[in-house]
Symmetry: C2
Subunit: 421 residues, 2 copies
């Protein structure tokens, strides 16, 4: 096997641990100098490959690469850009080959979710379709936890931990104020299509009195009367009610509750935020004093309270991807396999990328309680190990010390520029 | 000195560390059994005293009291209730004396902010005004950091740390997405009257490129054109713009921006949330893709990332309050005195409660940069030590283990009930 260079890029929404995967890829590649030469990263994901905007990671000192393990976000920049099919946009693929050939890239590591798996699959076919030899391996990442054939997706466990801790803490707060002040608290979390993240809030609910008391899932339509009855019963029983709501919940007509036609005085559609809509419903109908929070990016960037399991798995899939490439594999995704419960055990595995791309894993129906507002024991058993363990970053003067890489550009070798479609 | 019982209550909005003060009060009281008998806590603050709804803290095991140090919220319940003046509502004071006499209460420890200091001061005057011997000592607490005569207020340092960490993490996230996605991020923080909490976000800004790039303070009117020009310049310079906005900012007409007359389609006043208003302004005028977050209670309940300095100070003021009472003092507040910089040093002190009650400490004008969007070196010097150090709670299965006390009621001794005014 001759020494060839490798390309690595981050794709889609970033997470608290995607850089831990980058760390796994780069550190492992550095351990195999007889197979992998330099590892070049795409600046802003695949766009960096198309525009020949490459970063020479070999110029980063070991300590900086090691610090990626505890740094949230995408250190090389990410992007939301999906390659079209070969038939629709052949120019993109011939350009990729031009760039790969100019920089002798024989390995393609793509770190992303479902759309990115599709891009990675298309690159894996360049060899067969256009005769350019390249091995493409996908490194899974998504807070949405919706990739198939892997027990979980790196990035999800840390959001899950953040959400469970946050609703526990806010629940304690509201419990102590409820006598004369706030009685209802609504926390909005991510998950436009699936309730994985909202479900994670349920981990904080260990006894009947514990927050969250109600979870609103995108998998269940919001039936207002039923919901309000339950909020009222909860306030009667526990003195207050703490609610986790997924940004993607819909009403019985199938419309997003966050977009339910409300407008401000200037006629603008009301801006995002389903939490204030739920809070307003409760105010109008039950007249309770309420507070609401929208965690937004805070939840997926919260490296300060990342799950150790998640960090370890993020690193491991990066490492496994490089090892698979060195073993001559192509069109594969590194996966997490659950090999034991109580105690939880896991190892990395691999899946056929063709079976991953564009397949969305839904939350099993039996993970939601029959009443529609909580998680079942099966769900708890699945989620619990994913948030286990803390992996604190180093601090200086009270603030976490995250690394910003030098990100030195590789000199361009191609005369032609390329305009992104 | 004969042995008399003590009363302790939590008042106003709770914090991540008010229970650390409770821990300091209770553990110190237990060390002085020859002066202080039982320590009785008011269930839901002063309301517990008025309604004779008292909790016997002597029934809590040592481990439970020790766990208060790492548990957010108010373990005995808090309330928003301010005693009226003696002339206006003599019935409340005679009732307090009835309850105190029935339970032989000679010490009154009140844990709260400015309004609570006023209540504590009134109780301290019962002895002189109505002949009932009681010593009242105030234990400072408020995330608003607005009590005078103390270097800082326990509760503030932990919110400050949470806000600085959160905007740093979200800033890293947005920086990596900005090429093809979100370019502006707006994070709303507490502080209706003063910008202390918003200013703390500025600690994350160590270099020009660091988030937050702009802070909107309640001390400065929002001048839209100037603000938008700066947002645009920031996106041009750094590729994105991260903004911290205080919930209390006002427009040039002196109106709260969050209440600036916007209504939804049903004619309801728009619900809280200044972050979405700022985001919408940016969308309408600059057309950038944006995200926004409202941290709400998450920021003041975030014990998982409390400042060690804050936890230590919260405990210390509780301890000092008991020691002051034992020393025979009355109408005092325990304070924090800054005795050194570089390295930062502090000790507890005391202040005359008459000089504390109803006095609001403003943020110094020279803590805000001349342009109105950042913090000065003087501000940074003041804030920096307050967020220093981490004080992680214990975890089990990935979740922090916070204590819920048994809160056993003291049998009532009075025949008459009392209706809260």
């Amino acid at each position: 096997m001759s020494v060839r260079n490798a390309f690595y890029a981050q794709s889609g929404g970033v997470t608290a641990v995607i850089n831990a995967s980058a760390c796994g890829v780069i550190e492992t590649a550095r351990q195999h100098p007889t197979q992998i030469g330099r590892l070049l990263a795409g600046r802003n994901g695949i766009i960096g490959a198309l525009t020949e905007d490459l970063i020479d990671t070999s110029q980063e000192p070991e300590a900086a690469i090691a610090a990626l393990r505890h740094t949230p976000s995408g250190a090389f920049g990410s992007c939301r850009y999906k390659l079209k099919g070969l038939a629709e946009n052949r120019a993109e693929y011939t350009r990729l080959i031009d760039v790969f050939r100019a920089h002798d890239i024989g390995y393609f590591f793509y770190n992303g979710g479902g759309d990115s798996a599709d891009t990675c699959l298309k690159v894996s076919q360049l060899s067969a379709e256009l005769g350019y030899p390249v091995q493409a391996i996908h490194v899974p990442k998504t807070v949405d936890n919706d990739l198939p054939l892997t027990d979980t997706c790196p990035g999800f466990g840390s959001v899950a931990k953040y959400v469970a801790i946050s609703i526990r803490e806010a629940g304690f707060d509201v419990a102590s104020m409820a006598k004369t002040s706030t009685k209802v608290f609504v926390m909005e979390v991510m998950g436009r299509h699936a309730g994985w993240i909202a479900a994670a809030g349920g981990l904080a609910h260990e006894k009947a009195a514990d927050a969250p008391h109600l979870i609103l899932f995108p998998e269940r339509p919001l039936i207002e009367e039923d919901f309000l009855t339950r909020v009222e019963a909860c306030v009667e029983a526990h003195g207050y009610c703490a609610i986790v709501v997924s940004e993607g919940i819909k009403n019985t007509a199938g419309k997003f509750v966050a977009d339910a036609g409300t407008h401000d005085a200037f006629g603008h559609a009301q801006l995002g935020g389903v939490a204030p809509v739920i809070a307003q419903l409760i105010r109008d109908r039950l007249h309770y004093k309420y507070h609401w929070a929208v965690a937004d990016y805070l939840q997926r960037a919260a490296r300060h309270i990342a799950s150790k399991t998640d960090v370890d798995q993020a690193y491991a899939v990066g490492k496994a991807a490089v090892e698979m490439a060195i073993a001559g594999k192509n069109a594969r995704m590194a996966t997490i396999i659950r090999t034991g419960e109580d105690p939880y055990r896991w190892e990395t595995g691999e899946a056929d990328l063709a079976l991953v791309a564009n397949v969305e894993r839904k939350m099993p129906d039996d993970f939601i309680t029959p009443d529609g507002y909580g998680i079942t024991e099966a769900c708890r058993r699945y989620l619990k190990p994913l948030i286990a363990g803390e992996d604190y970053p180093p601090y200086r003067d009270g603030l976490p010390q995250y690394v910003t890489l030098a990100n030195v550009s590789v000199p361009k070798k191609l005369a032609a520029a390329f305009k992104i479609g």
